[in-house]
C-alpha cells in the first residue's frame, strides 16, 4: 500500500500508484465500460469550485501536432450540487476518490472543504493552485483547506520547487507536481486538423490576445520529470509524498517518475488517446 497522508488522522492509502489527473475522466464514471476503475490507485475528479461555473464561451480544444490545448473554464455544478449528484457513485466507484478543488479564495476553499468533509465517498482533496499564485496566497489557501479530508496540493509544474516548501509549511499532506501548463497556441492560429470551418479556433478575449489553455502532450514529460526531481531535492529535510504528473504516455514514463522519488503518478491526456492505457500502466506499476 502507498500512504499519501501518513500524518493525517484518516490517512489516504492507495493499492496502486497510478491514478488519473484531474480534468481527464470527468466527475464520476463517465468512462464506465472503457476503464476498469478497480485497477486504479485513486480516482481524481474534474475541478470543483464553491459555486457553479459555466463552460468557457466558447470552450476551446485546439489540436496541435504534438498534443492538444484545452480551455474549458472549469465548468462544474459547484461543490454542494456535485456531492448531491455524485457522492453515491463515488462510494461505488472502487478506488479512493480525490476531489479536485480549484483554489479560488481561502473562504471558498474553507466552505467547500466543510461540505466535502461530510461526503462519504470523498477520501481526499486535491487543491489546484493557479500558475501565478504567490507564496503567501499558497499558504493561506492551504490552511483554509485543512481540517477535513487529507489535502494534496497540486503545484504548477514550472514553480513546483519554489512553492513546495510553503505548501509543506502550511500543512499539505502530499504534493502533486505537474499541473498542466497554461499556454497560448504557437504562431497564428490555424483551424483544427479536421479542417471544418469554425472548429478549433481560439477565442479572442476581447483585448486582442489569444486566450490560454492547458497544454497536454508527451513533450510535457521532461519538464514534469525535472520538476519532480527538483521537489524531491528541495524536500529532503521534511519529505512529503509526491504524485508526479504531466505527459506520461508510456510505462517507461511512469517508471521514471516513480524512480525519481514520486510515490504515485497521474496520467493525463494519454487516456484520451487510449483509454485502455490507464489500466495497462496501473497493472504494470502494480508489480513494482
Amino acid at each position: 500500500m502507498i500512504e499519501l497522508a501518513p500524518h493525517h488522522k484518516r490517512g489516504l492509502s492507495l493499492a496502486n500508484p497510478v491514478m488519473n489527473a484531474s480534468g481527464l475522466l470527468g466527475f464520476a464514471d463517465e468512462y464506465r465500460g472503457l476503464i476498469d476503475f478497480s485497477r486504479l490507485g485513486a480516482f481524481v475528479t474534474n475541478a470543483l469550485t464553491a459555486r457553479p461555473r459555466t463552460p468557457a464561451h466558447p470552450p476551446n480544444a485546439i489540436p496541435l501536432p504534438n498534443g492538444v490545448l484545452i480551455h474549458t473554464g472549469l465548468p462544474n455544478p459547484g461543490v454542494r450540487a456535485a456531492i448531491r449528484q455524485y457522492d453515491r457513485e463515488w462510494q461505488r466507484l472502487g478506488p479512493p476518490v480525490i476531489v479536485h478543488l480549484a483554489a479560488t479564495t481561502p473562504e471558498d476553499v474553507r466552505r467547500s472543504v466543510e461540505h466535502l468533509d461530510l461526503a462519504e465517498g470523498v477520501s481526499g482533496v486535491e487543491l489546484g493552485l493557479r500558475d501565478d499564485v504567490s507564496v503567501e496566497e499558497t499558504e493561506h489557501v492551504i490552511r483554509a483547506a485543512l481540517g477535513g479530508p487529507p489535502v494534496i496540493v497540486r503545484l504548477p509544474t514550472l514553480r513546483a520547487a519554489e512553492l513546495c516548501e510553503a505548501a509543506a509549511r502550511a500543512g499539505a499532506d502530499a504534493l502533486t507536481v505537474g499541473a498542466p501548463m497554461r499556454t497560448s497556441p504557437p504562431g497564428p492560429l490555424s483551424r483544427s486538423q479536421s479542417a471544418r470551418p469554425g472548429e478549433g479556433e481560439s477565442k479572442d478575449d476581447g483585448d486582442g490576445q489569444k486566450s490560454k489553455g492547458r497544454f497536454y502532450g508527451p513533450e510535457v514529460f521532461p519538464m514534469a520529470l525535472e520538476a519532480v526531481r527538483a521537489v524531491v531535492g528541495a524536500m529532503q529535510a521534511s519529505p512529503l509524498p509526491i504524485i508526479g504528473a504531466g505527459g506520461i504516455f508510456s510505462e517507461e514514463n511512469a517508471r521514471a517518475i516513480l524512480s525519481a522519488g514520486a510515490a504515485a503518478v497521474q496520467v493525463d491526456a494519454a487516456v484520451w488517446v487510449d483509454p485502455a492505457f490507464l489500466s495497462r500502466v496501473a497493472e504494470a506499476m502494480a508489480t513494482l
Partner: protein, 223 residues
Amino acid sequence: MRQFTLGVAEIATSGGQIYVRCGGGLEVTAAPGQFYLARADIATQPFLRVPLYLFHTQSGGPEFFVDPAHPYAALEPGDTLDLVGPCGRGFSLPPRAAHLLLVAGTLERLHSLAHLALERHFAVTLLLPPDAPLPSLPLDVEIQRGTLTAHLAAWADLIAADVPDPLTLAQQARLLRLSPPPGFVQAVITPIMPCGVGACQACWVEIGHHRKRACVEGPVFHL
C-alpha cells in the same frame, strides 16, 4: 460504449468518396450521426482520436465512409483501427415523416442517414452548395443546388444538416415554414471532442439558450 480494434480489409473509392471496409467478427452498430473515436497507427493520425462515421455493416464487416480530406483517406488494407464508441446521439426519423431534405456540402456524416431513409421509403433530396462536388449517391436521391427555399422547406418533413452555420439554417427554416413539426431541423455539430464520453468538458456548444456537450448530448441536435 467499448474500445475494440478492427482490421482494414479493403479501401474502395466511388465518386471521389472513400469507403473503409473492415474485417468482420465484431458487431459494430451506430445510429446515423453517432460516431466512433478512432485511432490508427499511420502517419496521418493526429494526436487526438478522429470521429469516424459508420456507413453500414455488411455481412463481411463494418464499413466506414470518409471524405478525401479525412486523415483516414490514407488507410490501407492491413492497417488497424482502434475504436471507442458508439458515441453521442444520432438523427431520429419521425414515424410519420416521408420527405427528408439533406443540406450539406459533404456527406461524410449524413450518408448513412440517406440510406436509412431510402430503406424506409422516404423521398430524399440533397441540397448542395453551388460549388460542392457531386457526391456518389443512389439514383433515388434528388440533388439540388443553391439555398433553402420556401418550396423545399414546405416539402420537407425533416431537414438534416451538416453545414458551417446550422443555427442560421434553422432560423431560415423557421421563417420559411410556419408551424414546423417537432425535430424539423436536426443538425450535426462537431467541435473537437477529445474524450467522446462527456468527461473533458471541451466540446460544449450553445443551442438556443442551453449549453450542451456535443459528444454526449449531440453531435446531432434538434434546432
